[in-house]
């Protein structure tokens, strides 16, 4: 159906453009905002891929929590001094990296070209119930480890961010 393709190019194009836009921004907040738009279009892509739960989580976790956190820190840290001293663009590195990227994409395209074109035939149930059932049966250990990791990250962030009483 043509509608799916339109939406794929809409969301995918937005994602790529916003990613590129993010790279070229000077102000960190502009970059963060364009990255939020990028993540939102990712959520659209996930919704098209029969993964509504992942799409909702994308918006909640990436756009709502992680990017919000980054923006919050950007706003907390006084960037005016930093931004006045404009970031030195790494031109040579950029050119080299660009070349590497182009080569890699070319290489990747060639290798993928060798593969049979695959189309999404199977429809899966990406609902919360289904994902939850799988997550808490097959992946329960991973899940618990992940929650431990989050706890450790939380404690670590608090310890790191804590202002020392007397800073040397």
């Amino acid at each position: 159906m043509i509608l799916r393709e339109i939406f794929f190019f809409l969301f995918g194009g937005t994602a790529v453009l916003c990613g590129l836009f993010m790279l070229t921004r000077k102000s960190a907040l502009s970059g963060a905002v364009s990255l939020v738009v990028c993540f939102l279009s990712f959520a659209g892509l996930y919704a098209m891929l029969d993964a509504p739960f992942i799409a909702a989580m994308q918006v909640l976790v990436y756009a709502g929590a992680i990017m919000m956190l980054i923006i919050f820190v950007i706003m907390t840290i006084d960037l005016s001094a930093e931004e006045r001293r404009a970031e030195k663009p790494v031109i040579v590195g950029g050119i080299i990296a660009g070349a590497i990227v182009a080569a890699a994409i070319a290489l990747y395209s060639i290798t993928v070209r060798g593969l049979p074109h695959i189309t999404g035939a199977a429809r899966i149930d990406g609902s919360v119930t289904h994902i939850g059932a799988v997550m808490f049966s097959k992946h329960v250990l991973n899940f618990e480890m992940l929650s431990l990791l989050l706890l450790v990250a939380l404690v670590g962030a608090v310890v790191l961010g804590k202002k020392k009483a007397k800073e040397g």
């Binding site: 907040l29 905002v33 939020v36 939102l40 509504p52 739960f53 799409a55 909702a56 989580m57 918006v59 909640l60 756009a63 709502g64 929590a65 919000m68 956190l69 923006i71 919050f72 706003m75 907390t76 609902s127 919360v128 119930t129």
Partner: protein
């Protein structure tokens, strides 16, 4: 496209437009309620001047005067703002506010002529995750407004409010997990359907009955997310400066329209999750369809009684009023009373019709749908009124109190609620 496709497209659009329109109407209703409830709580009269041909509708018409004023105000774009963010912020918050009500079901599935329509603009199977996602996105509006204004006070306010909203989002999500465990679904349509039963044959199995603590936590958290008064530090109109000080005209109004739209969305979601949504207590859809005529008669009688009561109040007011109007407003009393009389006539006609006509299945289904929509709107209306009443009751929290409440009280309570719910469910199972 096939016929059913067109049907699907048409009905979906109709449902979306209905919910959208309802949100917009509730913006007006909420502004009206805010003014009138505030006035009556403080023993004032409230808006009573603006009128169309003398009819003021108890001050409702002031909304239109207000809209005209705001539209024709000068729209100032301050010179050093970041234009893109500055303009985007009100648009973002308004868009999100209007999208919010889409997942809330407003009636039971309507079955007409073989078609079954879910009465929900967007029946996603991620349900309230959609609402949580939208809530987390609406923080961006505040951040963009604060940063885009390029001014200290909006920036400080934006940081304050984003910290507040992030903190309370967690409590909000956590308060709902218990409910989801009880009803076994995150889809709001399913949750509302699951609330139709009775506990011990008497008490409706509403979310507020099975999850009282969850309801309380959700109510407090949604008040905080709405930036309504005990938690209105983002706006802080009287003491601290809000994130929208640099805005003027319709852009400023959009922030407030979004706030009032969000009050409706939060009320609708609360009604759906904890007050049974469209469920009329002790009256299931099947029962309405089966006894369509008596139900209709009862509704007509109740409507008649309500209109008589309103008319009595009006007459009492007009007779006891110690002054006379000299302008067009003097025809207001007769106009309102004759409108009420017309309504009463209709109600009487309904009572008569319920004896004469035996309704067919389509009429019965439509009646059930209409009654449930009315129940949903009524619940939302009362919750909106409650939110506004709370504003005129409670003083604002200090910032440290706000954070302490969010992290030290609501979060542990939410976890405890989760634990208790899980234990009870486990014990029930086996």
């Amino acid at each position: 496209m096939m016929n059913s496709d067109w049907m699907f497209l048409g009905t979906t659009t109709a449902r979306a437009v209905f919910m959208w329109g309802l949100t917009l109407v509730f913006i007006l209703i909420n502004i009206f309620l805010e003014r009138k409830i505030c006035a009556f709580v403080q023993d004032r009269v409230g808006p009573n001047r603006a009128h169309i041909c003398g009819v003021r509708l108890f001050g409702f018409i002031l909304n239109f005067a207000d809209a005209v004023k705001l539209i024709f105000k000068e729209d100032i774009l301050p010179p050093f703002v970041n234009k893109a963010y500055y303009i985007a912020a009100p648009a973002v918050i308004m868009t999100i506010a209007l999208m919010g009500a889409a997942v809330v079901p407003f009636a039971d599935d309507l079955t007409v002529g073989g078609f079954t329509l879910p009465m929900q603009a967007l029946n996603l199977n991620v349900g309230f995750l959609y609402i949580l996602a939208l809530t987390s996105l609406s923080v961006y509006s505040l951040v963009l407004a604060g940063w885009g204004s390029n001014s200290k006070y909006p920036l400080l306010s934006a940081m304050r409010s984003s910290a507040q909203m992030i903190s309370y989002e967690i409590s909000m999500g956590l308060s709902l997990v218990g409910l989801v465990m009880v009803f076994g679904s995150v889809d709001l349509g399913q949750i509302v359907k699951a609330q139709g039963g009775l506990i011990a044959g008497v008490v409706p199995r509403w979310g507020i009955v099975v999850q009282p603590l969850g309801a309380l936590l959700f109510a407090v958290a949604s008040l905080a997310e709405l930036n309504r008064t005990p938690f209105d530090l983002p706006e802080g109109e009287s003491e601290i400066i809000g994130f929208h000080v640099e805005y003027s005209s319709m852009k400023f109004a959009l922030f407030f329209m979004a706030e009032y739209a969000n009050i409706f969305v939060a009320s609708a979601v609360f009604a759906a999750l904890f007050l049974g949504g469209w469920q009329i207590p002790w009256l299931t859809t099947a029962a309405i369809k089966e006894h369509a005529a008596p139900v209709f008669r009862t509704v007509s009688i109740v409507a008649l009684a309500a209109m008589m009561a309103v008319a009595a109040l009006l007459v009492r007011f007009y007779r006891k009023r110690p002054y006379q109007w000299k302008d067009l407003r003097r025809i207001e009393g007769p106009v309102l009373l004759s409108a009420l009389g017309l309504g009463a006539l209709l109600a009487v006609a309904g009572i008569v019709a319920s004896y004469v006509i035996t309704p067919g299945p389509i009429m019965a289904a439509l009646l059930a749908c209409g009654l449930q929509m009315a129940a949903f709107c009524g619940k939302s209306f009362f919750l909106c009124a409650f939110v506004i009443l709370v504003r005129w009751t409670l003083p604002r929290l200090r910032y440290d109190q706000l954070m302490a409440l969010g992290w030290k009280i609501m979060l542990p309570l939410g976890l405890a609620n989760l634990l208790v719910t899980g234990l009870v469910l486990l014990l029930k199972k086996g």
